[in-house]
């Protein structure tokens, strides 16, 4: 059996960033995930914000990695060809008594090394014409940004795999045992051996850690529910709009996304079941009411989807990034809740340079390529007004998804890469086919047929999302 040097459990954004950093070195790396796609859970259901770092308590891991990670996004998104925009955030005070809290936040920002500016009501209204006219002031953090979280994870793993990392999907870890100088990691399908194991299992990180030793922290998942609005018009908001933070988190925000949609949420509810992604009308009603307080004119008739995500909130109230107590060959990276996404590049670098390197001898690869093959999209060509690529390449003018203008070429390209989508939802995350106002009503049949043809299977075998989630149940006759 092939023995790995490092095996990472969890291909969310944290695992992806660790894997990509390890891919720079001449070692054998395995990346495992229980889902049928990378970034399938917490990493794909969040606010898609690159936080500035105004909010974490100074001196915590959250503060440190948030600020370091934020600064890395320009380069990393360029290398990974991922949409990212530093639109800035506004944390708004709607009542006079909240202005004091803004000042405290400004001080905290300074301690964290985050550039911020306190704005008066007039300045805020000028920047955000749709803000509640009662606004009293805001904390402006220009380094905050929005990012395409789906493709950030997918492209990072793609880049890692292109540089030699081996990805194993649909592998749910069931036991971890140390043999002489290596770990034996058993999944529901296979057995792996690796000198080192890194636990980046998100909402399940405590369960994985407990397979090795008793731990003094626990994940207490918090569910967050969101509305997604169509990209019907620019300018509803021009920045990420936060309320004042509370103990439950940064609160219900209103933001645009890199695709021009708007996102409103999340709620924050304790939920013992980390796999609970149900949405509930009462919770959403509350989200709507709170968001409308900041931006009264949010057009909820433009909602095209609601979803829930699960935060891996940790009882330590901070990121756990450390060796296991008995062994430096097992590293826990847990509790990576907000600001986890923005922190991930810095966490990835820290884990590899500060925790792996002292244990394993790491030799740099000469041929590491930090870039993914360039992605071409009709939609981007439209924005740039440059159709040269589209016109010179087959399939890039054959539209499959009308709402999002996704072409066959883009879908085939996604399937041709090193982390190909295996489900309709995985393809949707990569290409946006089915993400528009009709939610796949028109394109889903075409997408299912394309996937079936690509994998050489019957359309009956194409899953909507995870394993055992088929879309079609029976063939009735010869269709085309």
């Amino acid at each position: 059996m092939e023995r790995f040097d490092v095996l990472i459990i969890g291909a969310g954004v944290t695992g992806a960033m660790i894997a990509r950093n390890l891919a720079k070195y001449d070692i054998k790396v395995a990346l495992l995930d229980k889902e049928n796609d990378v970034g399938n859970l917490t990493s794909n259901a969040n606010s898609a914000i690159v936080h500035s770092g105004y909010d974490p308590v100074p001196g915590t891991n959250k503060a440190k990695f948030n600020v370091l990670g934020n600064a890395m996004f320009d380069q990393i998104c360029d290398e990974l060809d991922v949409s990212f925009s530093r639109v800035g955030s506004l944390t708004v005070a709607l009542y006079d008594e909240q202005l004091k809290i803004l000042e405290d936040l400004a001080k905290r920002s300074k301690e964290n090394g985050v550039k911020v500016e306190l704005l008066n009501a007039e300045q805020v209204k000028k920047m955000e014409p749709n803000i509640n006219p009662c606004v009293k002031g805001a904390l402006f953090a220009p380094t905050a940004g929005i990012v395409d979280v789906f493709n950030f994870v997918v492209h990072a793993v793609e880049n890692a795999v292109d540089n030699g990392v081996k990805l194993f999907l649909n592998q749910k870890v069931t036991s971890i045992n140390k043999e002489k100088d290596y770990y034996v990691v058993k999944t529901d399908k296979e057995t792996f051996e690796s000198k080192m194991v890194i636990n980046a299992a998100g909402c399940f990180a405590d369960k994985i850690a407990e397979m090795v030793e008793p731990i003094d922290w626990k994940i207490t998942p918090r569910k967050g529910e969101y509305f997604v609005l169509d990209h019907y018009k620019a300018g509803l908001v021009n920045h990420v709009i936060f309320p004042l933070p509370s103990e439950k988190g940064k609160g219900i925000l209103v933001t645009m996304t890199t695709s021009g949609n708007y996102l409103v949420g999340p709620s924050s509810e304790l939920d013992e079941d980390p796999s609970d992604y149900t949405t509930d009308p009462m919770t959403l009603r509350n989200v709507r009411a709170q968001a409308s307080e900041m931006v009264p004119s949010i057009p909820f008739n433009q909602v095209i989807r609601v979803f829930a995500g699960s935060r891996p909130t940790c009882t330590r109230h901070d990121f756990v990034i450390e060796y296991s107590k008995k062994d430096k060959y097992f590293i826990n990276v847990g509790g990576i809740e907000s600001p986890g996404f923005v922190s991930s590049p810095a966490i990835g670098e820290y884990v590899v340079e500060q925790l792996v390197k002292p244990v394993l001898s790491l030799k740099e690869k000469k041929d590491f390529n930090p870039r993914v093959r360039r992605y071409h999209r009709l939609y981007s060509a439209m924005n740039d007004g440059d159709y040269k690529f589209v016109n010179e390449h087959e399939n890039y003018s054959e539209i499959i998804c009308n709402c999002e203008k996704v072409t066959l070429g883009e879908i085939l390209d996604a399937l041709d890469r090193s982390v190909p989508p295996q489900s309709v939802k995985a393809l949707k995350r990569r290409t946006r086919a089915g993400y528009g106002r009709c939610q796949g009503g028109f394109c889903q049949p075409r997408v299912v047929l394309i996937l079936a043809k690509h994998y050489g299977v019957s359309p009956l075998e194409i899953n909507y999302d995870g394993e055992f989630s088929p879309i079609l149940l029976k063939k009735i006759k010869e269709g085309k």
């Binding site: 909602v303 589209v390 203008k405 009709c438 055992f468 989630s469 879309i471 079609l472 029976k474």
Partner: protein, 415 residues
Amino acid sequence: MRTVDLLIIGGGSAGMAAAIQAKKEGIDDILIVERDEHLGGILNQCIHNGFGLTEFKEELTGPEYLSRFVKQVEELKIPYMLNSMVISLTKDKIVTISNKEEGVLEYKARAIIMATGCYERSAGAIQIPGDRCSGIITAGTAQKYLNIHGYLCGKRIVILGSGDIGLIMARRLTLEGAKVICVSELMPYSNGLNRNIAQCLNDYNIPLYLSRSVSKVIGKNRLEKVILTAVDDKMQFIPGTDMEIECDTLILSVGLIPYISLLDYIDCPTSSTKGAKVNEHMETMIDGIFSCGNCLHVHDVVDFVTDEGRLAGHGAAMYLKDQLQKGDAINVLPKDGIGYVVPQQIDRNNQEDVTFKFRVRRPVKDMNLIIESNGQLIAKIFKPVLIPSEMVMVKLSKDKLPLLGEEVSLRLEER
């Protein structure tokens, strides 16, 4: 950049009718742009019959109905471009088209007719409560899988919403061996045509539950069950009225919405139909851009779509021949009991009869439709039964037009 006199976006029933009419009125330089590989639009997948009763006085299937228009398009040698999607549009009528073979092309048109049809309201749009499993699908998509590709989306099925496609699919799925357990409708009345309730539900003993909706969908991977709960007159779920139904599929037939994303590019005003605001020639508020069919307002039967396509084709032909002398606009307002009226404006210089198309907000009986302007009664028409699922058409003769002030309103009054 290529040029064309009349560019028609969408080669379905509305687009083809518009093209044929414009051609007959002397417009030769026409291009129909169709995204699919055939003309005909959604009718291609509507293999049931019931089409053409008004238009041809016979009952045709969707493909039969559309083929009669395709034949005319061919005979009249009207050019059309398939596998082509209009991706953007300007107020100056520059149209960008993405064509499968030729790549991205630009056309400068003198007039444009939007005939882009409608789309189905999705599970996301109605914010369906519960899990995000597979097995929740809109009726039209299920119809496409079944009638075009030959796949059943489910075996034990609950249908939410009593729109016509849902009713048609209840019968169709039953005939293919699926068990349709029930149809559940949020409103206290059906949103489908009466004939469809009789022929698609009653004939197959499929129960229709009114004032009942899905309060939760449950399923880890694929749908396992739905909870149907009764609603009160404020559409709030009534505790203790849950029906738990094991099923693998939930089909949604919860409304159709005009597909008008292209109008976002030109800031075209819309109306309460969720389509463009138009005048009696189906011209939008953007000069030379017309709209018709389901992208203007959702119709019950295709025959009326065809008719409206012709109206837009006629309007565009007059526009291209400089026969539309624009004057002041008379606003048309839906009032008591009326949901919407098309057109929303009438041109003061109009020389033709005007047909108002409208829907009532809720089912009513024994009503007078009152058309009035400046407090003056223009017309009073008795309507014994009016239901929201049936569009009503009322003609206002051209000699009444001089009586109209700045606005004209339609309302219902008890007899």
